[in-house]
């Protein structure tokens, strides 16, 4: 084909002073500025940063796919020595998908829903290598096999929606690799996937990188994933690279306050809410057209020095002698660098009070209803979704109980039953001495309703966009507080805003004028407006950037501590759970598979699922060693769960036929630690820990 050498030995990709802007009606927005990167053969470089830092924009610019309103305003992208700006449309087409390929964030959205996968895959060799149909088909099947998809022929004949999310992503990866590209761009390839599925994809990518001699750019917001996949890392902030270097340098010898801030804000196994609490980065990301002079991180930086940091543009400063490590901080030599944040220790509290909530043998089955007119007339059959199967646990006053599990595990259904939006099919939910399991929220007393409130997941629709913050909080206070006097309500709203550390003039703001973190704070204020006894928090920080998430988590814990509220924290993030929970309930496919104190859950003996989950969570700490357990297959459907143990189809410790024929017993290991498994107790006890802190000496 074109003039790109397959045996090119120089840098595969070079970005020189790359600047990218977006045009809106109002202004030109500089999305990325002075981006430099040199990527050598067989190397993987990570671009990490929070949302809005410009990392995906870089990938699109490399592909020269900027849409109608974006453009490269300066600098060059050089691929194998050729400046891509000099290529014609046709040359560009031959480059895309052949020399440079890409894997995207949403696998489902990236595949054409109306086209079978065979066509979508075969197109790549057909259009790049002038091979025949047969040859193209054979190559596609072969590639599907090498991304470890079982039964490639069946996958070939499927439409995208007929396979699971993890499989879709493997197809996208196969499609990218079909023409043996020299450069692979991966844009958050696992963000949309569950942790156990993510682990498989990450392992695959790491393996392929070695075997295929492909250079990769791995874009992610997750430092743990970068650690597992990359050789070098570029940390981006507000359109600039603020620190670059090898993974070891940046993780262990960071030389930029933002990088340090990031590490301080993420929960690591070494972090603990009492000894080393998370530290949020204060303030928020500046808008692209309102960046401060000098260092963009200046206004949020603890080491900011007027006159120096805001004097003018700051260039990348070399750190060390090998020329690989660099920092865009003028004061990097003066700052005392220490790993992680420097939060103050908080007194431990374990003086939990009386039991507030007791869930006992609770079951929730949904009937799959058919609401067509025909069914109304003729009755019709019904099937059941077993969303929750015999769930039992306790939560005491001031205690934080975490419910952990991946999508479809039934954690949201559990929350709905607790709140009375659904009623339990069987069993009881005793809240403050009353069984509310079968009482829908409309029939609960005002006291019960206000005592059990919820914090929601998605900051973008947790608040009603049509009403001001003040009126939304005011409504809750009127409803719960028994206050009706307008002035008193207003005072109470201001108090609440103060508690969640928002200024009073947010009273008249509308949700769209608030940032994600601020909306979550209002959401927390709303839940705590009626002084609840217990708050259910459904993934309250999972949609937030790490620096903001840390602040919201801290706030939630502060308020909980002050008011001695019971917190039921629903999450898929084990690191976060380990950080803040007192007790943990692990769920899989509607079943409670393990429960115990945080200590018990995070050390052996484990339920095999907990073990796999722990192994799957990426940890951004070079001193941690993990046991690798990759689960096979994908999550079974809740409508038709596996017989016997729900986990047996993916279990790496399956002991035999009993697993697929008989429901496992809930084994009590003492001190409230329970595991739902057939494996004998002594064997469970003999398990090794998954996460091991490497010795400092080693």
């Amino acid at each position: 084909m074109s003039g790109f050498q397959s045996d090119w030995e120089g840098p595969v990709l070079e970005c020189r002073d790359l600047s990218i802007s977006y045009y809106t009606r109002a202004a030109t927005i500089p999305a990325v500025q002075d981006f430099n990167l040199v990527l050598n053969k067989n190397e993987t470089i990570g671009l990490v940063g929070e949302s809005g830092c410009g990392k995906s924009t870089v990938a699109m610019a490399i592909m020269r796919y900027m849409g109608n309103n974006g453009a490269i305003t300066g600098g060059q992208v050089i691929y194998k020595g050729v400046d891509l700006a000099t290529l014609s449309e046709e040359e560009l087409r031959q480059l895309r998908g052949n020399e440079i390929a890409m894997v995207y964030q949403e696998p489902m959205a990236s595949l054409n829903p109306a086209m079978k996968l065979d066509r979508q895959l075969m197109e790549v060799p057909l259009f790049h290598e002038q091979v025949g149909e047969k040859e193209a088909y054979a190559r596609a099947v072969e590639m599907l096999a090498s991304v470890k998809l079982p039964d490639p022929e069946r996958v070939m004949a499927s439409y995208p929606h007929q396979i699971s999310g993890g499989q879709q992503q493997r197809v996208v990866i196969a499609m990218a690799l079909l023409s043996k590209p020299s450069l692979l761009l991966l844009d958050e390839p696992t963000t949309a996937l569950d942790v156990t599925v993510e682990a498989g994809i990450v392992e695959l990518i790491a393996e392929l990188a070695h075997s295929l001699q492909t250079s990769m750019v791995y874009i992610s917001h997750n430092l743990g994933l970068i650690l597992e996949t990359c050789d070098r890392i570029n940390v981006m902030y507000s359109g600039q690279v603020v620190e670059e270097g090898t993974v070891a340098d940046v993780f262990d010898k960071m030389r930029h306050p933002y990088t340090q801030g990031l590490f301080g804000a993420i929960p690591l196994p070494s972090a603990d809410k009492s000894s080393r609490p998370l530290v949020a980065i204060r303030g928020q990301l500046p808008l692209p057209h309102a960046r401060p002079p000098g260092c963009y991180f200046g206004p949020r930086c603890d080491h900011f020095e007027a006159g120096r940091c805001d004097a003018g543009p700051i260039a990348m400063q070399p750190v060390g002698d090998d020329g690989k490590h660099g920092s865009r901080c003028v004061k990097w030599q003066e700052i005392e660098w220490q790993k992680g944040g420097s939060g103050e220790a908080i007194e431990v509290h374990d003086d939990f009070g009386e039991s507030v909530l007791a869930v006992d043998q609770m079951k929730k089955y949904y009937e799959l209803k058919d609401n067509s007119i025909a069914a109304l007339v003729g009755g019709g059959s019904s099937r059941f979704v077993k969303a929750n199967e015999s769930i039992s646990f306790l939560a005491r006053e001031a205690e934080t109980v975490a419910i952990v599990g991946e999508s479809g595990c039934g954690k949201s259904t559990l929350a709905k039953v607790l709140l009375g939006l659904e009623t339990a099919t069987e069993g009881s939910v005793t809240f403050q001495g009353k069984d509310l399991g079968k009482v829908p929220v409309q029939k609960r007393s005002r006291d019960d309703v206000k005592s059990l409130q919820m914090v929601f997941q998605n900051p973008f629709d947790t608040l009603n966009p049509s009403h001001t913050v003040g009126s939304q909080l005011g409504r809750v206070i009127r409803k719960f507080g028994g206050i009706s006097d307008g002035e008193a309500v207003r005072r109470r709203v201001l108090e609440l805003l103060d508690i969640v550390k928002l200024p009073g003039d947010f009273y008249f703001r509308r949700p769209r004028q608030l940032s994600g973190g601020q909306k979550q704070r209002v959401g927390i204020a709303r839940a705590f407006a009626g002084n609840p006894t217990m708050v259910v928090a459904d993934e309250p920080v999972s949609a937030l950037d790490v620096s903001v998430a840390a602040a919201v988590t801290g706030l939630l814990m502060d308020i909980q501590r002050t008011y001695r509220t019971t917190l039921l924290f629903i999450s898929h993030d084990l690191s976060l759970v380990r950080y803040l929970a007192d007790r943990v309930v692990v769920m899989y496919l509607g079943n409670l598979v393990e429960q115990g104190t945080t200590e018990q859950i995070f050390s052996p003996p484990y339920h095999p699922y907990t073990e796999a989950l722990l192994s799957a969570v990426p940890i951004a700490d070079t001193s941690i060693e993990k046991k690798r357990i990759i689960l096979e297959g994908s999550l079974p459907s809740v409508i038709d769960p596996p017989k016997g143990c729900a986990f047996h189809t993916r279990c790496h410790r399956k002991i035999g036929a009993i697993c697929s024929s008989e429901a496992p017993p809930l084994v009590d290991l003492g001190d409230g630690h329970q595991i739902l498994c057939h494996i004998a107790l002594d064997q469970l006890r003999a398990m090794d820990p998954v996460i091991v802190q490497k010795d400092a000496a080693e």
Binding site: R25, L419, V441, K450, M454, D461, T462, N464, L494, R526
Partner: protein
């Protein structure tokens, strides 16, 4: 809580907020043209009595070409008044009066087309918005309820709306008007009956989408009553698409009312109605083309106004 009184923030200007969406339309050329047409016709409808040189049903028995000055016999009647009271006396001829200009000519019975179009605008801009508004009053609550609650209520309401919508629109009008007779009230009723199911469908779709939002979920966990959730949590967030739909629908209702008038199923004579004017004038298309063509332009431009406005609003609302 401590007793420190927190300062009360100042309330931002409500007027500024209310007018902001209106000002946004400035950014769409198409929308501005639409708005101009709509404002033009609304002003004409409001000031019809002042703008129309003649009473709409004044019969001066003439076949004057358009633009001709009209000199009438002073004793002729315009409506119920003698012509001499409306027109200026001509010096030197006490039997004749000068009635001014028929800008768009007259029809065969000597009625001023210009005046009739102006009065026709008033007619159409009273009944079309009224009928549309009532249709929304009917369709919105049903759509919200069905889309939010789903289940049986939804099945029943949807079936009813499907039945009504399975009639071709005009067939439905012909049947309904045939059944209840043509009168202003009946026409409004027929429009409501035929439009409400369409509105129901749109609102239901929006409600089904919005019901899954967490703020609705939050309202449910507070045990809010159904009406609160429907009208205060869901409806305000559906207003954007509904305003666009309302503009389109208004244009369509204007067409409907005109068409019914054209088919002889509209408002009873003699009040001016654009559709009826077209019907009456169409036989003279060859000889006096202005008689049917000016009402054609009037109805088309009014509908175009609403359609362009809807398109502009949609364009603006899709931005940011």
């Amino acid at each position: 809580m401590t007793e420190t009184t927190l300062p009360m923030p100042k309330q931002p200007n409500i007027l500024a907020r209310l007018f902001k969406p209106v000002l946004l339309i400035r950014e769409s050329l198409v929308g501005m043209i639409g708005l101009a047409l709509v404002v033009f016709w609304v002003l004409i409808a409001i000031f019809a009595p002042a703008l129309a040189p003649f009473p709409p049903n004044a019969n001066l028995m003439s076949t004057q070409p358009p633009g001709a000055e009209f000199i009438a016999s002073a004793t002729q009647m315009i409506g119920m008044q003698p012509a001499s009271e409306l027109c200026n006396a001509i010096e030197g001829d006490p039997t004749k009066v000068d009635c001014g200009t028929f800008w768009l000519g007259t029809d065969l019975t000597g009625r001023d087309i210009f005046s009739r179009i102006i009065w026709g605008a008033r007619q159409v801009l009273i009944f079309a918005p009224l009928a549309t508004f009532v249709a929304y009053i009917v369709g919105i609550p049903m759509g919200l309820w069905a889309g939010y609650s789903r289940g049986r209520i939804d099945t029943v309401f949807s079936f009813i709306s499907n039945v009504i919508l399975s009639f071709p629109v005009l067939v439905l009008y012909v049947l309904v008007i045939n059944l209840i007779g043509a009168s202003a009230f009946n026409i409004v009723a027929a429009v409501v009956f035929a439009s409400a199911p369409g509105i129901f469908r749109i609102v239901r779709g929006l409600a089904m989408d919005l019901r899954a939002r967490e703020y609705v979920f939050a309202a449910e966990t507070r045990g809010e009553p159904l009406a609160y959730i429907l009208f205060l949590e869901i409806l305000p967030n559906a207003r954007g698409p509904l305003i666009v739909d309302a503009m389109l629908r208004l244009g369509y209702v204007i067409i409907t009312i005109g068409t019914l008038g054209f088919l002889g199923l509209g408002l009873p004579p003699p009040d001016p109605d654009w559709g009826k004017m077209i019907a009456e004038g169409r036989t003279f298309l060859q000889v006096f083309p202005w008689i049917p063509l000016f009402p054609c332009l009037a109805i088309s431009s009014a509908v175009l106004g609403f359609n362009l406005l809807a398109d502009g609003l949609r364009e603006v609302s899709l931005r940011d």
